[in-house]
């Protein structure tokens, strides 16, 4: 069936909403994004399928990332008239029991993360809360009240974890493709651009360029032009785009369709890294489904608008996230950037005007059209509107994907959403913006998340990586780590980046090895400043950020490394040793038992002794001591 109108959508929507919210039997949604699968969701899913085959009255479904990655695999179970419950850490071992328990009304409350108050997204205010009449489970927190979720606002991730990504109808049920069809049938392309412009949406890929302006520029060009989706998410520890592609691929397709109509393109490309096989698979399925419904292809919905979407898989070079490098790679050339003095919206892919946005940006677009620019612009700060998805990782309790409104403070994200630093360790810094972002110290924790503000303190918004560091993190080592990554990922074309990063890294390696010398910090600063100014592309110009911000905020650590030859965080092995605090040691023998070198000796209940000669500073004793008796010196 080819969809011709919003009414056609409505029909599908109506049918599948039923299934989504009011299943005939018990519906089990297993979080089957890569994060869930990594935690064992696949095995759990398969086991559940076996245990509850079709006709068993229990329907086993897949969905995308439910968000709380710390507690994966997450499994949501709902039944007609029953509370909607999210089970946590449901491995294959537990799944049948959990489902069976739910079915039997024995909810295994210990395994429950929470129950849902309202499963609707912000765009479904036209229907009633399907859980309105359901009696909540006593003693189980509402998901919406869990700090991890309570401060979040899901726009880009609106459908992730709620629908089966391989089922277009479920997307349609959540008002999918409605924005596009309305735009196509009722709006002038120019007006679409105006709406996007008025919404204040800025590129979520890292640059933060106003999307509306980009579209307007592209729309002004003549001839063949292209819509490209940057799905080459390369920041270590960041997986926002992957989650969207795995959890809600149609939102991206719809965003691209709208962009295509708005700027007058007939061809879209999704440049996705091949390391995201599941995302690729789901995108392929999604495109096929959309084509089947005539939402992608020729003469869409009876209009004169035709739009094809092709997938191009990249080899996973970090630099291919840079627009010109991406387009070079898309053309089949080596993915190396060129100077962007002529913008890609004028001369991009195949030297034609090309509109490039990333996954999250496109995912935001249908939402904006559905609810209007004003609604979107009402969220966030002066310069940054809407929400931003962050991938919260590092020394934090609740690792996972979070989508928060712009303007929220870092403190809120780290401590409320993220649950703070585990093991009572002290918060030290948060690194935003991926490897070329900066490390923001505690003093700036109240900084609102905003493109400008982050830049002011030496970091960037980036694509949304957020790495939390605690007292055991050596900032010099952190800088070294990121440069190590960038050294590998620099394309190597331009001298400042290639040679500069190499030299900065060499200096940092020496500092971490205890061979730092006077003047090294200044030389790092000199190099960093030059690389920022002189590099060819964004990778180079932002590469020194981790070093420069750590020097800015943690200069004393550098100095300690260089002058005192000390690494107080206990990371740079040549610069510290472990000692046993006789006051604190209870003689429990845990450390002595665990030490692989048998470097720790001591009788039970007597203070232990550490043989420095034998110690390899593996840190097992340090991590294992419950009494903080192992200290870094």
């Amino acid at each position: 069936m080819k969809i011709q109108s919003v009414e056609d959508l409505e029909k599908i929507s109506h049918e599948y909403r039923q299934r989504l919210y009011h299943p005939d039997a018990i519906k089990v949604n297993v979080g089957m994004a890569s994060c869930g699968i990594a935690a064992g969701a696949q095995a759990a899913f398969e086991k559940a399928r076996k245990a509850f085959p079709a006709g068993s009255g229990i329907q086993i479904c897949q969905t995308g990332c439910i968000g709380f990655c710390e507690e994966e695999p997450l499994v949501e179970v709902l039944g007609y008239g029953k509370p909607r419950v999210v089970y946590k850490q449901i491995t294959a071992k537990k799944i049948t029991e959990a489902i069976q328990g739910y079915s039997d009304g024995e909810f295994n409350k210990k395994w429950i993360l929470g129950q849902m108050k309202d499963p609707r997204s912000h765009f479904e205010d036209d229907i009633e809360n399907p859980l309105a009449d359901v009696e909540p489970l006593a003693g189980i927190p509402f998901i919406e009240d869990i700090p991890f979720y309570s401060k979040q606002l899901k726009i880009a991730l609106r459908n992730c974890g709620y629908i089966d990504p391989d089922c277009i109808e479920e997307y349609i049920a959540k008002r999918g493709y409605q924005a596009f069809l309305q735009a196509l049938q009722e709006m002038d392309p120019k007006d679409i651009v105006s709406v996007v412009n008025a919404s204040g949406l800025r590129g979520r890929g890292g640059g933060g360029f106003p999307t509306g302006i980009k579209w307007a520029t592209c729309a002004k060009q003549d001839g063949e032009r292209y819509i490209i989706c940057n799905a080459d998410e390369g920041d270590p520890g960041a997986y926002m785009d992957r989650s969207i592609l795995e959890g809600d691929p149609h939102s991206v397709l719809e965003g691209m369709l709208i962009a295509g109509w708005a700027v007058g393109s007939r061809q879209g490309f999704i440049y996705v890294r091949n390391e995201y096989p599941l995302a690729v698979k789901r995108l392929i399925t999604a495109i096929k489904q959309a084509e089947k419904y005539g939402l992608v292809g020729k003469k869409i919905a009876g209009s004169n608008f035709s739009f094809q979407i092709k997938i191009s898989t990249g080899a996973g070079a970090f630099v291919c996230g840079e627009s010109t490098a991406l387009m070079a790679s898309l053309e089949g050339n080596v993915g190396r950037p060129r100077a962007k003095y002529i913008h890609t919206v004028e001369k991009g892919f195949r030297d034609r005007p090309s509109n490039l946005n990333n996954v999250e940006t496109y995912a935001n677009v249908p939402a904006i059209l559905l609810k209007g620019a004003k609604w979107f612009a009402s969220m966030g700060t002066d310069h940054s509107k809407g929400t931003k998805v962050f991938s919260l990782v590092g020394k934090i309790k609740n690792t996972g994907l979070v989508e928060v409104p712009m303007g929220i403070s870092l403190r809120d994200i780290v401590f409320d959403v993220g649950g703070g630093v585990p093991k009572k360790k002290k918060f030290k810094a948060v690194q935003t913006g991926g490897p070329s972002g900066g490390c923001i110290p505690e003093m700036f924790l109240d900084l609102p998340v905003d493109y400008q503000k982050l830049t002011e303190v030496g970091s960037i918004m980036g694509s949304g990586g957020m790495i939390v560091m605690d007292q055991d993190t050596c900032m010099v080592d952190v800088a070294r780590y990121f440069l190590e990554f960038l050294k590998e990922e620099s394309c190597g074309q331009c001298n400042p980046c290639r040679e500069g990063i190499k030299q900065m890294l060499a200096i940092l390696n020496k500092i971490c090895a205890g061979q730092g010398k006077k003047g090294d910090i200044e030389l790092l600063e000199e190099l960093g400043t030059m690389i920022q100014k002189f590099s060819l592309c964004g990778l180079g110009t932002s590469a020194p950020n981790p070093v420069l911000t750590t020097i800015l905020y943690f200069r004393d650590e550098y100095e300690a490394h260089i002058k005192d030859k000390k690494c107080s965080a206990g990371v740079c092995k040549p610069l510290f040793h472990y000692e046993i605090d006789p006051e604190a040691c209870t003689g429990c023998q845990v450390c002595a038992r665990r030490c692989p070198q048998e470097a720790i000796t001591g009788k039970k209940k007597a203070t232990h002794v550490l043989d420095q000669e034998k110690c390899i500073k593996c840190g097992i004793c340090y991590d294992g001591c419950k009494f903080d008796a192992i200290v870094v010196r």
Partner: protein
């Protein structure tokens, strides 16, 4: 046009240009390592980063690929930019510490210590090679790998067929990381060789776009289609981007041009013998065995080593060098060239002497030879000098094998001394004196034209018509006529021109075009308005000198109204623009700061004339030869010097005045002095070309020395031919023969001579425009070998007379002996008489023919049967003529005893004294010049030490004198056989006609002039002038004062410098002008 700010200045550029392009044009220096004009900018090295203010904020952008836009503000060398560049250079130097270009840059940026870890790379990853390869259309290499692992490589690091080994990558590599050798092993299996320069004998490479050699005519580059990458891949075309005038058209096709001509002159030259075939000489196997042609290049200042004598294998300076003569000449065993190549002995000596000059006296030079043939003018003296003063060793031995000595690169030679001793000697380098031969191509041409060739494959010509081929109207000159040296080739060339001129005489002036004459503007009393044109000469000047700043500077000089800089001032379009500007801006003085006036002054003067200016209102500043070329390592100082030179030129040119050139009519009559063979040849040629000619002969008969001669070496009957010639001359309507006539006086100058003749006591004055001196020479009257004591002891001419008269005694003789070099090659006459060896051998053969039983001995020092005369020598030996060598220290002894003539001489083969009883002793006597000093004085022409006339230039002007309007030919120049005399006679005629063909001639405006009121009448100027230009005025208000004939004056300035009362001025080089130049330099007090 886009207007923006560059370093605070408002500048303009064209839409689409990048910052760097505009900056470069304006002379604003921006450093770069990855930029190449012909390649797309890549912005990789980042050195060209500049600061850009866009109205809101300052950014850093790369100048090479940032397009200019209206209103932007660019700063090219701010503190931040400078610091960044410095750091980049420092990092690159850490990566590649041994790369000179980085060391230089480091020096420039004051980097004196290294703060980074040193690596040992040589590649700076500028990507020029990759982009060039792409441009070549080959795409064989690319930047592979990522980040620190990036390198230039082929895909998967395998040798690829995509690489065509064009070497473009190596050429463009700024660091020397890619070399031609590396291309072979790394990129391709093909050998990447530089194209061997034909001119440099493969010792040096050349490009596919090339000028064959510096003096090539036309001196424009050509594209070698067989080597040009564009013709292989369709790519490249880089040359077109460099050409400032869009002159390159790759689509150009060969054109066949058909010309309708009345005559053809063949001057295809020769090819040097290729000794590769001689395995015994190891030429192909051993690098240090080279040919003399290669040696020429090595010794040449423009050669591959710039004249530094090094051997090819290891570029070390040799200590011992040997020359092997007769390689490919006089050799029937190993090659078919049995003739003598004529020139090799002399050039080998020359090379040895120059090698010693270049390498120092301790260089040991040895020449292995058979006969030393230095038969040219002043050659024997050079030989003596090389042997006695320069210490060049001459070893009479023919070496057969050259053996390499281990790995040393040295070469061992075994030879037998004159004493018969076997010796072996080691040399560092051996030069094979290769002979001359006609190329197969030339032989083919001759075949196509249907020309007869000699046994040696040279063009067959007759003695009495030495430049005529067997086909009428086709003439030949140079080595295709026979192996010969430069002077003889030049003589031939003029002779051939004369020959063609004779048959084409009726068509003279029918194809000439007269240029339009532009009226000259009167600039007298005008304030000087100087235009200064500074030339970039491509990169010749602009590569070193900051040309725009020189032009800018010139603007500040007094009287300068206009300045500009040109890419090539001498190009046609620039010339036109310049004359337009002169007219538009009303300029009345012009300075061109460019190359040398020697080559380009006439061109620019022409430009002035075209603009209606007197051509002397012009001055050149030589900022190329005297500046950019010599100070190329010092651009700042060179720019400063260029400004100095321009300032000096401007200060001089303001004092320039329009000068008049004296115009004089040319009397269209010629006078030939001497009625011998060459004189008659000259006269006949002149007359045939329509000019009235007088022959002055002091004897009662025409014919000169030829009257004594029997046969030519090629067997022609001289007397018969001579009679024909005399008859033709006498009959010619344009020739007037004055017999029994001597010259009493000569007055006048070029174009207007008045010569007083005396015929049997009667005087007559003849007016003529030119004079040809063909006064001949005489036979030496021997004072040794008992000449005169016995009628059977004759001179060569006396033997000829007997042969002419068919003297019966000749048949009866049992033994005949010839003694060579009688009077020649003696200390008092240190020259070779050139003809005697051939003459004696020829006569010996005649005698043998008359009486085959006759024993003939020829006692000689060196047999000099040069060219194809060698065949006679060979034939004589075959016929049984015995050749016995003697040395000057052990001359043969002639004893008259009991009516017998006994000759005692040492046989060089047997090493014994021989005693020969003979019936006939012929002394091959020297040819001695007439030493006519009176005549020399009349015409102001010099004589050399031997008494022969001195020509204008030994090589380039052999048939004319330095004195305008006077020419020479025949034996008066130097001993020579009949064919050469006739050739030179015609050559002299040919040269004379270059003057006669003009109705009027102009002398230079740069002549001296006397301020007669200041003249003290001392007469110094008159006595010092080599051209007799000054004279005392005989009448008028300044009678008795010195006056200068502008026609005779050469502007040498001798009189000016020697005039004690300061009365003489040299126009165009007046004292005030010269002082002004000096003052402009702040050098004078």
């Amino acid at each position: 046009m886009i207007t923006f700010k560059l370093n605070g200045k408002t500048v303009q550029g064209e839409e689409g240009q990048y910052i760097l392009q505009v900056a470069e044009k304006l002379g604003v220096e921006i450093p770069t390592l990855c930029h190449h004009k012909a390649l797309e900018p890549a912005g990789m090295c980042r050195l060209c980063t500049v600061e850009l203010f866009d109205g809101r904020r300052t950014r850093y952008v790369t100048a090479c690929n940032y397009p200019i836009w209206e209103g932007m503000e660019v700063t090219t060398d701010s503190e931040g930019v400078h610091q960044g560049r410095k750091l980049i250079v420092e990092m690159l130097l850490a990566r590649c510490p041994d790369v000179p270009i980085l060391q230089e840059m480091a020096k420039k940026y004051g980097i004196d210590r290294q703060r980074f870890e040193q690596e040992n790379d040589t590649c700076i990853l500028c990507g020029l090679c990759v982009r060039t390869c792409e441009k070549m259309g080959t795409h064989a290499i690319s930047l592979t790998g990522r980040g620190v692992d990036m390198k230039v490589d082929t895909p998967f690091h395998v040798q690829t067929d995509a690489c065509i080994a064009c070497g473009a990558c190596a050429t463009v590599c700024p660091t020397g990381h890619i070399t031609l050798e590396k291309i072979k092993s790394h990129h391709t299996r093909l050998e990447a060789k530089s194209i061997p320069s034909e001119y440099d004998m493969g010792l040096k490479g050349r490009k596919p776009v090339y000028v064959p050699y510096a003096q090539a005519v036309p001196n424009t580059p050509a594209i070698d289609r067989t080597k040009c990458v564009h013709f292989k891949t369709g790519g490249c075309k880089i040359c077109t981007e460099f050409c400032g005038v869009d002159a390159i058209d790759h689509k150009m096709k060969d054109e066949i041009v058909e010309l309708n001509v009345g005559s053809i002159i063949l001057a295809p030259g020769f090819e040097a013998f290729d000794p590769s075939a001689f395995d015994s000489y190891n030429y192909t196997k051993h690098e240090n065995v080279i040919t003399s042609m290669e040696m020429e290049r090595i010794l040449s200042a423009s050669g591959p080593t710039e004249g530094h004598l090094v051997r090819p294998s290891d570029h070390s300076e040799p200590k011992k060098v040997a020359w092997f003569q007769c390689v490919g000449s006089r050799d029937l065993n190993r090659c078919d060239n049995s003739y003598c190549s004529s020139v090799c002995c002399m050039y080998a000596i020359k090379e040895a002497v120059i090698a010693k000059e270049h390498a120092g006296d301790d260089l040991d030079c040895a020449i292995f030879y058979m006969d030393m043939r230095t038969h040219g003018k002043d050659f024997e003296r050079f030989y003596d000098n090389a042997r006695e003063k320069q210490g060049v060793r001459f070893l009479r031995s023919r070496v057969h094998t050259i053996d390499p000595v281990g790995e040393s690169g040295d070469l061992s030679v075994r030879y037998i001394t004159e004493e018969g001793e076997l010796k072996s000697e080691t040399f560092n380098m051996i030069v094979l004196s290769v002979g001359l031969q006609t190329s197969a191509q030339t032989a083919k041409l001759a075949e196509r034209l249907g020309l007869e060739l000699t046994d040696g494959n040279f063009c067959k010509t007759g003695t009495f018509d030495p430049v005529a081929t067997s086909k009428e109207g086709i003439y030949v000159c140079g080595a295709f006529q026979g192996p010969k040296d430069i002077p003889q080739s030049v003589i031939d060339a003029s002779a051939a021109a004369a020959a063609a001129g004779e048959i084409l005489s009726p068509a003279r002036n029918t194809e000439t075009k007269t240029p339009e004459i532009i009226p000259e503007t009167n600039v007298t009393n005008e304030r000087p308005r100087v235009g200064v044109f500074v030339c970039r000469c491509g990169i010749n000047i602009a590569g070193v000198v900051d040309v725009p700043s020189v032009a800018e500077y010139a603007k500040t000089l007094p009287y300068v109204e206009y300045t500009s800089d040109n890419l090539y001032s001498c190009s046609q379009d620039t010339q036109e623009t310049m004359s337009q500007i002169i007219k538009q801006k009303n300029l009345n003085r012009v300075v061109v700061a460019a190359c040398t006036p020697k080559t380009h002054e006439p061109l620019f003067q022409e430009t002035l004339i075209n603009a209606g200016l007197n051509k002397y209102l012009f001055e050149m500043a030589n900022i190329r030869n005297q500046d950019s070329w010599v100070h190329k390592n010092n651009p700042d100082l060179a720019t400063k010097k260029a400004k100095d030179l321009v300032r000096m030129a401007v200060s001089k040119v303001t004092l320039m005045e329009p000068l008049k050139e004296a115009e004089l009519e040319v009397n269209q009559t010629a006078m030939v002095i001497g009625g011998g063979i060459s004189g008659m040849a000259a006269a006949k040629s002149l007359a045939n070309q329509g000019y009235e000619t007088h022959i002055i002969e002091r004897n009662a008969q025409l014919g000169g020395q030829a009257l004594q001669l029997y046969r030519t070496a090629s067997g022609e009957d001289i007397q018969k031919k001579l009679a024909d010639l005399i008859k033709a001359v006498k009959k010619h309507k344009n020739i007037h023969v004055h017999l029994d006539t001597t010259i009493d006086n000569v007055e006048g100058f070029v174009g207007n001579f008045d010569t007083t003749l005396s015929t049997k006591g009667q005087q007559e004055t003849l007016a003529h425009g030119v004079a040809v001196l063909a006064t001949g020479a005489s036979a030496f009257n021997p004072d040794e070998y008992r000449y005169g004591d016995d009628p059977r002891i004759l001179t060569s001419l006396e033997l000829d007379r007997k042969l002419i008269d068919k003297d019966p005694s000749l048949k009866k003789a049992n033994t005949a002996v010839f003694i060579q070099c009688v009077g020649s090659r003696e200390p008092e006459r240190p020259y070779c008489s050139r003809v005697c060896c051939t003459h004696s051998i020829d006569n010996a053969l005649h005698l043998k023919k008359l009486n085959p039983q006759l024993n003939v001995f020829i006692l000689y020092r060196d047999i000099r049967t040069y060219g194809e005369r060698e065949y006679l020598y060979k034939k004589a030996r075959e016929t049984g003529v015995i050749f016995i060598r003697y040395s000057r220290d052990h001359k043969p002894e002639v004893i008259l005893k009991d009516g017998q003539i006994l000759i005692k001489t040492k046989d060089h083969v047997l090493g014994k004294i021989l005693e020969i009883e003979t019936d006939l002793l012929t002394l091959a006597t020297a040819i001695i010049p007439n030493r006519d000093e009176k005549l020399a004085n009349f015409f102001k022409v010099p004589l050399n030490d031997d008494g022969f006339f001195v020509e204008r230039h030994a090589k380039l002007g052999p048939s004319e004198f330095a004195t305008d309007g006077v020419f020479l030919c025949g034996l008066a120049h130097y001993p020579k056989p009949i064919d050469e005399s006739i050739a030179q006679g015609r050559a002299a005629a040919s040269r004379a006609i270059t003057l006669l063909a003009q109705k009027v001639i102009h002398t230079s405006g740069n002549v001296a002039e006397t301020e007669q009121s200041d003249c003290s009448q001392c007469g110094v100027c008159i006595s010092i002038c080599p051209y007799s230009a000054p004279f005392f005025a005989e009448e008028g208000p300044f009678a008795g004062k010195a006056q200068i004939n502008p026609v005779l004056c050469k502007g040498c300035g001798l009189c000016v410098a020697s005039c004690r009362s300061g009365a003489i001025h040299l126009k165009g080089f007046d004292n005030n002008q010269i002082f002004e130049q000096i003052f402009a330099l702040n050098e004078a007090v």
